[in-house]
């Protein structure tokens, strides 16, 4: 007799999936507006101890210095994103982020690093015209998440279900999202939550690559769920690769990051022959070039056979001196030491590492998606960063838009009707997800996940071309089909294969959307680099959007609206037209 797990039915005003910066800020803001809002947070890991906000090293960008300005930060962001950002979203990011820092400090109790005179310290970060990155040492995320967690713990209106993952969103007959079906891994039970507004903030799916930096539990769940209810996606081809992921052999630590600031402070990159190869790719900026340029250069070196035997390049910080490194990059020195590398005295092997998905669910300024009742924020959403994200804008994005989502949902639920009964739908979905748990035989989900990661790394990774990607599509589709038949048998609590199966289902969705999108964009821009179209093309000042319609994908390209800043090439073109 196959186990039939219990279904617990809950109700809330606001359901938040994911407790990274975005999720918790939404809870904070909704609570501030109305402390009696019943909020339910479901988080796949532990509260405050999961997700990438926890792992933020470098810091948080915001304009605090009178000599800096919103315009400068905005311009950096747009230039970094190579002009395909949604400018309204980017402006909101820039505009809100100082207020959120005040909130994090004065309301939640974070304390970021100070100058000797006690004012806040802001450090330089690549791609920025002003030193505006607020940080706490090189472990900023812990400070943010620990304090947000502590705040959450004391709120009576917030219920947190830890180690409970969202499986699918629930919809009413009009297609409006009215909650979600969750799997509580602790108790081995399903939970259906009825909610007036639902936020997905599960932090994206960069983990679809073989070498990646995010926390291990993340798997594009939010995007997978939203896709299945018909949400629209934007910029899916834009995946950022961090140039300095640690290469720790077969260890799971591979992909974990060495902080960008290291390069900013002057660390050098060498190939196996001891050549400082950035001289060839970016002679003026060298290692300080933007992430995409450095990642690509390293990748090409490795592909050209000039990488180390384990497929990496070498970062060298020894010339900066022991004292400087210990004072400024203590965390990174320690991290290297953990794996037996000596950053102080020798070169350390690194490789590009999939880091951040700029693309995601298409949202408006209030984090609303195209589906009524469904909100998205943080890495699950897209549009803010365009073709490339500046270091320090990621956590700012999740904090700023998390807060916006909180405000918007608080407003939304004032007029939203209480959802009707969802238990039939919940039971249907539950049966679907129960199948692998009761399956005998079937595919090994761990193997399929590995296979997906390898395909993506080789064929739709740092350097892409049309032919490889066209080959990748059937492979991804095959994996997506096979994973439906995977075996997740075992106990219903903390069942690793079962969870891996669900992860791979969602990653498969993201992978396919990413690859198809990347095939469409026949140019190179930002993090998206095509060998067969190595140049930027003015015709591609557009965003690619996609949504599922009746089992098919509906693609669209939308010209970018330059509401605040026009790209120089467009200005030139217009000039030449006038003449």
């Amino acid at each position: 007799m196959p186990p039939l797990l219990p279904l617990v039915e809950l109700e809330a005003d606001i359901l938040i999936l994911g407790a990274g910066g975005a999720g918790l800020l939404a809870a904070l803001h909704a609570t501030t507006i109305n402390p009696r809002t019943k909020i339910l947070i479901a988080v796949k890991g532990l509260l405050g101890q999961s997700g990438c906000t926890r792992m933020v090293q470098g810091g948080y960008n915001c304009v605090l210095n009178p000599n800096d300005s919103f315009e400068k930060h905005f311009e950096d962001t747009i230039k970094g994103g190579q002009f395909v950002n949604n400018q309204d979203l980017a402006w909101a990011l820039v505009n809100d982020s100082p207020d959120r820092i005040l909130e994090l400090e004065n309301k939640c109790g974070c304390l970021f690093d100070r100058n000797p005179d006690g004012t806040i310290h802001q450090k330089p970060f690549a791609g920025q015209s002003f030193d505006r990155t607020v940080h706490k040492g090189d472990l900023t995320g812990i400070e943010i998440m620990a304090n947000l967690r502590d705040w959450t713990l004391e709120q009576e209106n917030i219920t947190v279900l830890q180690e409970t993952r969202g499986l699918d969103l629930l919809t009413d007959t009009n297609g409006k999202v009215v909650g979600a079906l969750l799997l509580n891994n602790r108790k081995g039970e399903f939970v259906s939550v009825k909610a007036k507004a639902t936020l997905v903030a599960t932090g994206g799916g960069a983990t679809m690559y073989q070498i990646s930096s995010p926390s291990l539990e993340k798997a594009g769940d939010g995007m997978g769920m939203a896709f299945r209810v018909g949400a629209e996606f934007i910029d899916m081809e834009m995946m950022q690769f961090h140039p300095t992921g640690l290469l720790v052999g077969k260890s799971i630590a591979t992909g974990g990051l060495l902080e960008e600031g290291l390069r900013g402070a002057g660390a050098r990159l060498f190939n196996k022959d001891g050549e400082r190869y950035m001289e060839r790719y970016s002679p003026d900026k060298m290692e300080r070039a933007t992430r995409d340029v450095v990642s690509r250069s390293s990748y090409m070196e490795i592909m050209a056979g000039r990488g180390t035997p384990s497929g990496g390049v070498l970062i060298d910080a020894t010339h900066m001196g022991e004292k400087f490194l210990l004072d400024n990059f203590r965390g990174m020195v320690d991290r290297c030491r953990e794996y037996g590398f000596d950053l102080l005295h020798s070169r350390v092997e690194v490789s590009p590492s999939a880091h951040y998905h700029m693309g995601g669910i298409r949202i408006d300024l209030n984090c609303k998606s195209n589906i009524d009742g469904l909100f998205a924020a943080g890495e699950d959403s897209g549009g803010v960063h365009g073709g490339n994200r500046l270091g320090g804008n990621g956590v700012a994005d999740s904090i700023v838009f998390g807060a916006r989502a909180g405000d918007a949902m608080a407003e939304y639920i004032r007029t939203a009707k209480a959802p009707g009964d969802v238990s039939t739908q919940a039971r249907q979905l539950m049966e679907k997800w129960l199948a692998p748990l009761n399956r005998e035989g079937g595919e090994n989900p761990f193997k399929l996940r590995d296979q997906l990661e390898r395909v993506m790394w080789r064929k739709a990774g740092v350097v892409r071309n049309g032919k490889d990607m066209a080959e990748a599509i059937p492979e991804i589709i095959e994996i997506r089909e096979k994973i439906e038949q995977a075996n997740g048998a075992g106990a219903p609590i903390y069942n690793a294969p079962w969870n891996e199966m669900i992860n791979t289902v969602n990653l498969g969705v993201c992978a396919e959307l990413l690859t198809r999108s990347a095939i469409l964009r026949e140019e190179s821009r930002g993090a998206h680099y095509r060998q067969d179209f190595p140049e930027k093309n003015v015709k591609w000042l557009k965003n690619i959007t996609v949504k599922p319609v009746n089992g098919d994908l509906k693609w669209d390209t939308v010209p970018v609206k330059f509401t605040r800043l026009k790209p120089p090439e467009l200005i030139e073109q217009e000039k030449s037209l006038v003449h």
Binding site: R54, C108, L111, A496
Partner: protein, 244 residues
């Protein structure tokens, strides 16, 4: 590459351990060993982790009897061929190496971990906190707690009395108490000034030895004991100039 015996405590039947043989290279950690076992030998094995780089604090377990982070413990450095992996002590086991952190966080909540902002301060201004200020000095090296629970599992006093606050919670209370922006001073002091508060500590220093972030927890506890004994001195220290 070297071969190791990994003996993992399982939660199925009482006190049972399962032995696995795995091949690991010199950079691999206990977490790697567990992943290898789960992927290739026994998928029913359960353990917790998220960041795999020592930031999330979810992978603490007893490794050769010491509470440590699995992702930060290279197998080579253990200098043993057999490695015994058990769940953290003093916390209820949920499955295999996964423990419920609830007792730890119940104590944590007792000290009011959140900031209770002083209403007199201007929320639109950032506090001026020079590193040389009293808070800057007191907090130095104390703010890196990742709530992994290693100290809680190491403390013999927690082991004999589960009502005890435990080292991490007291450290948290110390940080909030020294924070010039905070206002819940009396409530926290009351919680600390209790037979199950700071006075329960017998300075075993086990927490200090176990903490993966090198936090000197006993120092914080002693600071709080002295603050309770000499309240005037404590309040003088708190009132340094802020927002001039």
């Amino acid at each position: 590459m070297a071969t190791y015996q990994i003996r993992v405590a399982r939660s199925g039947s009482d006190g049972a351990t399962d032995s696995f043989t795995v091949e690991l290279d010199h950079r691999m950690t206990v977490l790697d060993a567990l992943f290898l076992i789960q992927r290739e030998q026994d998928p029913t094995l359960s353990f917790r982790c998220s960041c795999r780089v020592g930031m999330c604090g979810t992978c603490a377990m007893r490794i050769n009897w010491q509470p440590r982070l699995a992702c930060q413990t290279r197998v080579l450095t253990l200098k043993a061929d057999t490695i015994v992996v058990e769940p953290l002590a003093h916390l209820p086991v949920m499955k295999d190496l996964v423990v419920a952190m609830d007792p730890f966080f119940e104590q944590w909540k007792r000290v009011k971990p959140a900031l209770h902002p002083d209403p007199k301060r201007d929320p639109k201004k950032l506090a001026v906190v020079p590193p040389t200020s009293e808070f800057g000095k007191q907090a130095q090296g104390k703010r890196d707690c990742i709530t992994c629970g290693a100290c809680y599992a190491a403390c013999g006093i927690v082991g004999s009395n589960e009502e005890y606050l435990g080292p991490a919670a007291i450290n948290k209370a110390m940080l909030r108490l020294m924070d010039p922006r905070d206002n819940a001073v009396d409530e926290r002091l009351e919680e600390l000034n209790d037979e199950n508060g700071v006075w329960r500590c017998h300075t075993q220093f086990n927490c200090v030895a176990a903490c993966p972030k090198g936090i000197n927890l006993t120092d914080s506890i002693m600071k709080m004991k002295r603050s309770l004994l000499f309240p005037k001195k404590f309040h003088d220290k708190r009132n340094f100039v802020d927002n001039p």
